[in-house]
Structure formats: C-alpha cells, structure tokens
Subunit: 281 residues, 2 copies
C-alpha cells in the first residue's frame, strides 16, 4: 500500500460576496464557495482533482464573509517550494467574488471548524431612506421603519449566555441546539447604518437571522423588550419570528485558541457537538 | 397661448451604483441614470412623460455617485400637496441601484450644473491582495503593485491651481479645457485602501481618471514625481497616461454658493465655460 506523501496543514482566511453563491457547502449543480475554492486550490496545487477543504462557518445562500477560515492539507514538497506564492496564485485563478487574504501553516491538530472558539457575524440594516446607498445594497437590508437600537440592545442582553436556542434554529434530527451567545449588540456606524455584532461559540442553522428577526420588531416598538426572551424560553419556533434576509449577514471573524490547545479544543467540540450544522450562520 | 402652470424648482441629491448604467446622460437604447430617474419622476409627479432633469456631473458609464445633484421643475400645486412624500414615493418606483436621498425647493436661479462651485470625486484603489474585499470590488480598483502615496501626493500637489488640462481630457471642438484643480490628495482609509480625493470647479471628460492614470505610475516608482506636471505642461494627450477604469470613481459631493449668489454664479459659469462637457468625471 502506497503511503500518503507528507503534508502540511494550512489555514486560509477568505472573503466572498455571497450574492451569486448557493452558500458555502458544495451541492451538486450549484455554484458554492466550497466548490469554487476547492477547484481553484486543486488547480494551483496541481492535484488530480479539487482539494478537500473544511470551513469554520458553513454560510447559507446569499450570506457574505470577510473572515471565513478554512483548512486543507497541502503536499509538504509543494508548500516548501511555493507556499509563499499560494495567495497570489489563487488570486489569478479565483473569480472576483472570492478572495483568499492569507495562508499559513498550522499545527496538525488545527481544524477550522472544530478548533474554533467563537464566530463573529455582522448584520447591517439601513432604516433611513436618506442613507440607502446603492453601492452598499448587496450587503445591507433596507428597512422601511426606524429602529430604536436601545430597545433592541436591552432585549438582546437578555439572550446572552448558554441556552438551548431551539426557538431560533432550523432543527435537525439528533442535533443539539445548545449554544453560548457571547455578544449581541447593535450600534450605528459612522454613516448611521445599524450594525449588529453577534458572537457565539457556534451558531445553529438560521440562528443569527432568526435572532435579528426577533429583535427588529422590538426596535420598531411592535413587540415588548422581553418578547425575544419569551420566545427563547418557549423553546419552539415562533411564527412571529421572521428569519431575516441573507444579504445583510456577513461572517466577520473566527477565533481560535493558542496552538498548543488546538487539538484539545477540537476533540472537546467533536464530543459535545452532536449538531451537524454547528456553524452555519 | 396657454400659460405654463406655476412650478417650483427642486434640488435632489442622489446616489447610484454605476455598474449597470451607461452613465448619466440619456442615450437612445441605453440604460442611463438620467432616463431611469426622469421616468420615475414623471410617474410620481403624474406628468404626461418623463421629467426634464439636469445634473451637476454627467458621469461616464460605470462611474458611481453618492452625492450627485440634479434639478427639475415640479408643478407648484403638486409640490404643495405631496412634496414631502417625493423621496418616499421615488424609493418605491426607482430600481435599487438608484436612490434619491433628499429633495428640497430652491430659488429659481438654482441650476444643478451651472450654479455649482465645485465637484468632489473619490477614486479607490486596493494595492494589497490581503485587502481585496469582494464586497467592495464593484467600487474599488484592484491594483497588483504597491503604491507609494507620499510620492503620488507630491506629484499631485504640483498640478493644483487653474491650468489648461487638455493633456488629461478628451478634447471636444470649441470647448475650453481650463479648470481649477482645488484639491488632489491620496490617503489610506481605516482598512488600508488608497483613496484619492479630487476637487475642482468642474472636470472635463475623463479628467479624473486620466489624472489617476498619471499619478499611479509615480506611486509604483515607474515614473518620476515631476512626470505628471510635465504631461500637464505639454498640453497634449500623452499615450503614457492610462485612463483608469470607471468603477473606482465616485461623485461624492457638489458644492453651491449661498442662495443669493446662485443665479449670478450660473450666469458667470455659462459665459466662461464654452466647454459642453463641463462636468463629466
């Protein structure tokens, strides 16, 4: 039996405009980020086919990323000779709606998905017609009514901590929906766009967009500040919670522990997380 | 002979993503901002056809705007009853790549084009692969080599003032190419993107993009700091000056004098400016 040639585990950081993608995860007949990137990597690394890659966040159709992280194993010989050219070569091969910002070798225990400590997403809402910039429309929800961010932040604060977020997730059989919501706050950027910053250890499917859909009615004054907490505690999908549109959402950053804790973190996550949809914003 | 019904002159401020437009100025068979906006205004104002509108800057195909200004005359009766609803109604009728941010009545002497004191454009260049954000690609030039902004600013400073910019303009018969360049400077934004800020009383056709094409080789070290001034002084188009791509360019703001000087400014401009392409970035 031929032995596998030695390889180097490489972490890549990438961004994409999700508009023209059916999300991250490869699906037959669909244009996905994973398929496009695997193909480009296979070509650059001169593999016989697409490279195998694993991402931190399996973003949905239309969701963007500026700090997505993925890992792959690169033949050690190729990396030693050409590793420093990987980003440049990929930029020549990838379509302009996906860019790899950086690539670096990491310890073998690194797993983009299971070693991650947290994911940070943003959600952008323009609630003022005078600020609806066409140049930003592909990544900003235009909302017809003004939002009271103070009320939304008060409601958001009550959701922090480790809970069963079943009420905000698309459930899958045999998957836990317990997550630790570390941060959820709204502020206006320097232009006046309302931007949510959402951090959790991981997110269930649809979770960020459903959280947005619970907070926005509070910002409008249509729901009480305590309503989102009531939904959380009820533990079942509430038809009053709209899953907000994908194009406002962006995976901004993924956090990892120091190198010597990577493998242990990955093992721990794999054991705890029965959920197969651990990280899809 | 029937008299024209009384009207109110209205100034509107608008933005657009130029990607899918053949520029501002109406052309048969092409999708232009002027045609789309005239049509929408005609519909909202219940005119028998498209409204007549005049813009400050007749931007080229692919050029964006965030602070374009235009004027039109609105039936006084309509304005009195529904003027406060104009922006909202337009937002329901316009496609998402054009937005009107505001509309206000102005003195009759106001002319969006001829009353303007200055136009400000920006030009965005990403010269670092690690910063090439797919979400900004439609309004940022990706440049493969690093640029020295200090050298570019030194070269730019030598071009300021009133000059014949024939070397940087597409010439038209009987049109002056004398312009006052008030400001031209590069700086990096908080992300690290190189952004030029360019202000002049008005711009000839292609002028901003040709100025960018003269400065970028200086930033690369391919041309001396004094080269753009030499081109200016030679007074003829230099084949070494590339007209940079449209998608990096955006009309950011147009400045006007106080109300009581509007009409005088418009008269003065009309007399001085033989140039018919006065304001096309």
């Amino acid at each position: 039996m031929a032995e596998e040639p030695p390889s180097v585990r490489v972490k890549i950081v990438l961004g994409y405009d999700g508009s023209a993608f059916s999300g991250w995860a490869a699906q037959p007949g669909r244009r996905t980020v994973q398929a496009v990137l695997s193909e480009a990597l296979g070509q650059v690394l001169r593999l016989p086919g697409p490279a195998e890659i694993t991402a931190a966040g399996r973003t949905d159709a239309g969701v963007h990323a500026r700090g997505q992280v993925a890992h792959l194993d690169v033949p050690a010989e190729w990396w030693a000779a050409d590793g420093h050219k990987l980003v440049r070569r990929l930029s020549g091969v990838l379509p302009p709606d996906v860019r790899v910002f950086g690539a670096e070798p990491v310890p073998d225990g690194f797993d983009a998905r299971f070693s991650a400590l947290w994911r940070r997403y943003s959600y952008r809402v323009c609630d003022d017609r005078a600020l609806a910039d066409p140049l930003e429309r592909h990544r900003t929800l235009w909302y017809p009514r003004r939002l009271d961010l103070d009320a939304m932040n008060e409601a958001a604060g009550r959701l922090l901590g480790e809970h069963d977020f079943a009420a905000f997730c698309r459930r899958r059989e045999g998957a836990t929906t317990i997550r630790a919501l570390l941060r959820l706050e709204w502020r206006r950027d320097d232009v006046g766009i309302a931007v949510a910053r959402v951090v959790a250890d991981a997110f269930c499917h649809n979770m960020v967009r459903a959280l947005m859909g619970a907070l926005i009615p509070v910002g409008e004054g249509r729901r009480a500040v305590n309503w989102p907490l009531g939904v959380l505690e009820a533990g079942v999908r509430d038809p009053g919670v709209r899953v907000m549109p994908a194009h406002g959402l962006c995976l901004e950053e993924v956090g990892y522990p120091p190198d010597d804790e990577l493998a242990a973190r990955a093992d721990a996550t794999r054991q705890v997380r029965v959920c197969r949809t651990a990280s899809g914003g």
